[in-house]
């Protein structure tokens, strides 16, 4: 009897204490892979969701349709703010939108120019969205077009973009992964501003949004394109090419890249492969305008030498190192100038000054940082080391030259 009573009370408790509130069977979820945010003329947010169709993506499983269905579908809703738009999506979807696996957050250029502040809070607040979601800006296109683009290798666009970012950061270094956390951190940092990767569609844009894009040999693709510089949450301009790489040099995020160095009259003679790099920043806060010193220590290999140079001589290697230092210094200086022209401290100098001298930052620099930043004096110093030259020493051009001179 006692047992019965306790069982009864236990099961009554269960009714009220059930933990089922966030229980969802997998087939009741729509897995969102990408979120796009745009703004219309009235100021309402247009939110686009890229939702995968798992039966088409999963390896080895062919659903009832058997490969006829598209890999993903796209929903689009409008709302005064992000949450409103998200919940409105339920008017179109038969399943709950599930954000935990979203890999890409695209802002349109329009909203980026207007202000991204209106759209980042929910993304960072919602427990479901991961903080590793990559933030990009659609350059010369809209998020809804970008999310509708069919990509050839990774079938889901958002997946493809996130992977491209990862690979490109490691191999070329003109873009760096910027997830929502890093974006927010750079906003919160003293004097800091975010810098966000740009992405564009290349090729036939009309073809891009049809499944036929899979079938042609030269399909429309998505491609990284520079990094957008923001000021007060508004997109001010773009850093492209080597200027963008300068950001990675300064932030010490450059893993690997290839740098062209002139060689005996051939402007594009050497290609130097950077294998690892270290950056040290220091600040001097004595004066009214503080001065900074950037020291970069790259390690490099010779990847290409298109001139008749004798690489067996160490002096030649030192020459290359010196030239390489010059090229990198120039790159970094250009980046700093560009940032100063935008008057946007995407490089994190403000935070550096704050850490160097918190009191002075708070009392003097902080209020006038907008005036101080463009005047900052930065001394750039690169000290590179060339370690290896691949599996041969001197280029074949040198051997050929030797042969001609010998007889």
């Amino acid at each position: 009897m006692k047992l019965l009573k306790s069982c009864l009370s236990f099961s009554i408790c269960l009714l009220f204490l059930t933990g089922c509130w966030d229980q969802n069977e997998l087939d009741e979820l729509s897995i969102v892979m990408g979120i796009g945010i745009n703004i219309d003329k009235k100021g309402d947010l247009i939110v686009t969701y890229q939702v995968v169709n798992p039966t088409e993506v999963a390896p080895g499983i062919t659903g009832a349709g058997g490969g006829k269905q598209p890999v993903f579908t796209v929903y689009e809703t409008k709302g005064r703010n992000l949450m409103e738009a998200t919940r409105k999506a339920s008017k179109q979807t038969s399943r709950r939108l599930f954000f935990a696996h979203a890999r890409m957050l695209v802002f349109s250029e329009k909203i980026a120019k207007d202000s991204i502040y209106q759209a980042v809070d929910m993304i960072s607040r919602d427990p479901e969205v991961r903080s590793t979601i990559q933030v990009v800006v659609a350059r010369g296109t809209t998020p809804s077009k970008l999310l509708r683009t069919f990509t050839a290798i990774d079938k889901v666009t958002s997946d493809e973009v996130a992977t491209i970012l990862k690979i490109s950061e490691k191999n070329w270094g003109e873009n760096m992964q910027q997830d929502i956390n890093e974006v927010l951190q750079s906003i919160i940092d003293e004097g800091g501003e975010p810098i966000i990767n740009g992405i564009k569609i290349t090729g036939d844009k009309k073809l891009a949004v049809t499944a036929q894009n899979y079938e042609v040999g030269d399909p429309a693709r998505v491609q990284l394109s520079g990094m957008g510089v923001f000021r007060d949450g508004k997109l001010k301009g773009w850093l492209d090419g080597p200027e963008a790489r300068g950001v990675l040099w300064i932030k010490g995020k450059l893993v690997s890249s290839a740098i062209t160095v002139p060689c005996m009259g051939n402007d594009n003679g050497y290609s130097i492969e950077i294998v690892r790099s270290n950056t040290e920043l220091s600040a001097d806060t004595k004066g009214k305008i503080p001065s900074l010193a950037i020291e970069v220590f790259p390690e490099a290999n010779i990847a290409e030498a298109n001139c008749a140079v004798n690489l067996e001589k160490p002096s030649e290697i030192f020459k290359i190192e010196k030239k390489l230092n010059g090229v990198i210094e120039k790159e970094i200086e250009n980046t700093i100038t560009a940032a100063q022209d935008f008057n946007s401290d995407v490089l994190g100098f403000g935070e550096l000054l704050y850490r160097e001298n918190p009191k002075k930052w708070r009392n003097e620099y902080k209020q006038h940082y907008k005036e101080i930043f463009p005047q900052l004096k930065v001394e750039v110093n690169v000290d590179s080391r060339i370690r290896r030259s691949g599996i041969r020493t001197s280029p074949f051009l040198f051997e050929e030259k030797k042969k001609k001179e010998a007889p």
Partner: protein, 556 residues
């Protein structure tokens, strides 16, 4: 509830301390008279309540025995005569299939019947006949006096033959026990690749001999009990006197003596009678078919309990970690043994929580599944009509049915069942969209995992706990699963086996014993016996002392 759960622990402790106090007062007569030390049984006088003296008149006596046993057809009454001073009539009584006819013929009947008065130096009076033939004629090792009817009948039932001589108020119980028993075979439930291949049989005598043959120590003790009001089953405890804790021995003896039951057919029954805690799924005794396992445990200070009629010998006290150790661990190199032990433990965890993890992941924590895998599972779940928990329960119960069927069914239909099981239930269920392939994989790995645990007893506890864990994780996700695991661990910590903490050497932590727990250190490092078990004799023979001696000699 609380009181009931705590009781056994308190009881044990109290008993142990009480025993400590009483230890010196303990006088041998307080031991139950039923206990016969097999070593000294020939000398010990059995003091049973006097039911009926033996009658000196032979045919009266024989009639009474027949009466008592209900005139059984297998009771053989052989009357014969032999000559001392003059002719003496004697009767040999025995139960047919329980005695060895050859011994009866060659060593009892033959020498007695060839006795003649001529050979005697001095005449023997009739009432001394029994003593005389015991001393001079019976070429047998075990010959005991019988003084009461009860004793006589008990002896007959235990497989002795009984010799009664006209005019004597005593009889002789002759150890001619024989008959057919199963021979020593390879163990069927504890197979090893390297290690002894013999195993216990149903006969307690064989089993004791298997142990004795391997331990030639004067300190080995075999004590016998008789349990079961009807079956009178022989139970023996085996231990090494110089190693085992006397308090533990007393506790075990006491608990065994307390057992009151009609019959004892298997060690599992005794286990239930004498275990510390009844409300638990975890086994508190190690059971084994292997003599080497018993001896290994005796050397650590544990006690073996052998029951006549079953090849499974109990070992007490048992620690949780022992169920993941195999005797082979000590015969193989320590590195592979350590690896295998870790593997077995993880296998236990897998068989315990694999389906629960699957359920929790797919219904609560989809964010934790790698994206690509999530697509795969989601695609498989597409079109499955049941929630993950129903799917899992269906598959797990199906597997349990198959397993039970596999054990019970006759061998001849085995193939049919495995075909139906594997093809129809596995493949067809997936193709029909009743369950997802991922679920089949999970159930498969769970099933295989549960068979990789060396101890069947602990595998069954994982098997039982699996279902509540699945239900909990379908309601509360990982949160619930974690809570449930905490409860299980708390329960394990509260368990005692004869007062010894079940989770030792982990809780309470005993650093020295950790060397032989989840890991097995090189055998040279294992020179300590388990700390709590062998208080008296902590250190094993140290390999180092020999080595040191040698080194000293060479330096000299």
């Amino acid at each position: 509830m609380r009181n009931r759960r705590k009781r056994p622990i308190i009881k044990t402790h109290k008993k142990l301390t009480d025993m400590l106090a009483d230890k010196k007062l303990d006088d041998p007569s307080s031991l139950r008279s039923k206990i016969i030390s097999m070593e000294t049984s020939s000398k010990q006088v059995i003091t049973k309540k006097v039911a009926g003296e033996l009658s000196p008149v032979l045919h009266v006596m024989v009639d009474r025995v027949k009466n008592l046993l209900g005139e059984p057809m297998d009771l053989i009454v052989r009357e014969f005569e032999f000559e001392l001073e003059h002719k003496v009539t004697a009767t040999l009584l025995f139960l047919e299939e329980m005695n060895d006819p050859q011994i009866l013929n060659e060593f009892i009947l033959a020498p007695l019947m060839s006795l003649s008065s001529h050979k005697q130096s001095s005449p023997v009076p009739v009432d001394h006949a029994l003593h005389y033939i015991k001393q001079n004629a019976l070429a047998l090792g075990r010959v005991l006096d019988v003084e009461t009817e009860d004793e006589l009948v008990e002896g007959l039932l235990a497989g002795f033959s009984v010799l009664l001589v006209e005019g004597n108020t005593k009889g002789l119980k002759l150890g001619t026990t024989g008959g057919k028993v199963r021979g020593i075979e390879e163990p069927s439930s504890e197979v090893v690749i390297r290690g002894p291949k013999d195993s216990f049989t149903e006969s307690i005598k064989t089993n004791i001999s298997l142990i004795r043959r391997r331990v030639r120590s004067k300190d080995i003790r075999v004590e016998k009990f008789i349990i079961g009001e009807v079956t009178h089953t022989d139970v023996a405890i085996v231990y090494l006197e110089n190693i085992a804790n006397p308090l533990l021995i007393n506790e075990i003896k006491e608990r065994i003596e307390e057992v009151k039951t009609d019959g004892l057919l298997e060690s599992g029954q005794l286990e239930e009678f004498i275990q510390d805690e009844t409300v638990t799924v975890f086994p508190q005794f190690l059971n084994t078919e292997r003599p080497d396992v018993v001896i290994g445990n005796l050397l650590e200070g544990r006690v073996g309990i052998i029951i006549n009629g079953t090849p499974f010998v109990l070992i007490a006290p048992a620690q949780f970690i022992q169920f993941f150790q195999s005797s082979e661990d000590y015969y193989m190199r320590y590195d592979i043994s350590t690896f295998l032990r870790l593997l077995r433990f993880s296998v236990f965890i897998i068989s315990l929580i694999a389906p629960s993890i699957y359920i929790a992941l797919t219904t609560f924590h989809q964010a934790m599944i790698p994206t690509t895998l999530l697509f795969g599972i989601a695609a498989q779940r597409e079109g499955v009509p049941f929630p993950a928990i129903a799917e899992a329960l269906v598959m797990e119960i199906t597997f349990e049915i198959l397993r039970e069927a596999g054990i019970r069914m006759p061998r001849a239909v085995g193939v049919a069942v495995s075909i139906v099981g594997a093809l129809v239930l596995g493949q067809a269920a997936v193709q029909a969209g009743l369950v997802s392939p991922a679920m089949v994989i999970v159930v498969g790995i769970t099933a295989v995992a549960s068979f990789a645990i060396p101890s069947f007893a602990v595998a069954t506890s994982a098997r039982l706990l699996r279902f509540p864990l699945m239900l909990i994780s379908s309601i509360f996700g990982f949160y619930g699963l974690t809570l449930a695991l905490i409860v299980i661990i708390a329960h394990l910590t509260s368990l005692r086996s004869f007062g010894y903490p079940y989770l030792s050497p982990f809780a309470p932590i005993q650093t020295e014993d950790l060397k032989d727990s989840l890991f097995r250190f090189p055998i040279k490092k294992l020179f300590k016996r388990p700390e709590k078990l062998s208080k008296r004799n902590q250190t094993r023979t140290r390999p180092y002392s020999v080595k040191k001696k040698r080194e000293e000699e060479t330096t000299r």
